[in-house]
């Protein structure tokens, strides 16, 4: 590309925003608040558990009052971390090709992680301590 005799500001003026900034910003806050509440529940629950052996954990996660907040914690945490890591990538990876690669990779890994955790919770819920 030939060098343009324009400032960076001149080139973007009139194009408007990408129209996604405000939504991304808001989703970061909503997922942060949800993760804050749920991780608070998680830490208190962990500290109150009598032991951390598999039997205790499976029995605990077999209860709806533990399984549902845990599933929600997985969803909000992976939602939040996906957005956060993507902001970091967008700030430090400047080449468009590698930016696309890393953003896509983080999206895939976040969905994979959440999917694995949710299926594990589902299996514990339906098979219980018999597994």
């Amino acid at each position: 590309m030939s060098a343009k005799m324009e400032t960076a500001l001149k080139q973007v003026r009139g194009l408007g925003s990408a129209r996604e900034g405000a939504r991304h910003w808001w989703h970061e806050r909503v997922s942060a608040l949800a993760s804050l509440i749920l991780s608070g529940w998680f830490i208190v629950s962990l500290l109150r558990l009598p032991a951390y052996d598999r039997g205790t954990i499976v029995e605990w996660l077999g209860s709806p009052l533990a399984a549902v907040p845990m599933a929600l914690l997985v969803i909000t945490t992976f939602w939040h971390l996906k957005m956060g890591v993507i902001v970091v990538i967008e700030d430090y990876v400047h080449e468009e090709g590698s930016k696309l690669f890393w953003v896509t990779l983080v999206n895939f890994l976040a969905i994979l992680g959440a999917g694995l955790a949710l299926f594990a919770l589902f299996k514990i819920a339906v098979t219980g301590s018999a597994a």
């Binding site: 324009e6 400032t7 080139q11 608040l33 997985v74 597994a131």
Partner: protein, 147 residues
């Protein structure tokens, strides 16, 4: 980006004197990135619990390493022990630091806490708070239940 290099950029990191607010800002990113990696541990824990006794035993042996249980033997043992404790304590600290600086962001999002002294105070408080909460958390895990 087509930028005319002869035109000045607005002042960036290198020109400002370091202060607690800058430390807390970059720590929010660093701890957030670290916690994103640590989310794999949460997934591993749930998958191991769903898989079976053997898979769960593998997970707990790694978590035992991260919580510094067991007596290290030899030079390599001590190095591994130290690494495990650093990661284990570091992850808990990262969680509390990210949570507290996130709460600070909530306050600043509503437009409050930008006065220089207030801003500085609360930046420092997130660091003090995260260290205190980390100490309390590990004290409870190691001594709290009388184990």
């Amino acid at each position: 980006m087509h930028r005319n290099p002869s035109r000045p950029l607005s002042p960036h990191l290198s020109i400002w004197r370091w202060g607690p607010h800058m430390l807390v800002s970059i720590l929010h990113r660093v701890t957030g990135s670290g916690l994103a990696l640590a989310a794999a541990l949460l997934v591993w824990w749930l998958v191991a619990a769903a898989t079976g006794a053997e898979a769960y035993a593998t997970f707990t042996s790694v978590m035992g390493w991260l919580t510094g249980t067991g007596a290290p033997e030899g030079a390599v043992g001590w190095i591994l022990y130290a690494i495990g404790v650093i990661i284990g304590v570091g992850l808990v600290w990262a969680f509390f630091q990210h949570t507290l600086s996130g709460l600070r962001h909530f306050v600043m999002d509503i437009g409050a806490g930008y006065e220089l002294r207030t801003n500085r105070t609360w930046a420092v408080m997130t660091i003090v708070g995260s260290l205190l909460l980390t100490a309390l958390f590990w004290a409870w895990i190691l001594f709290g239940r009388g184990a």
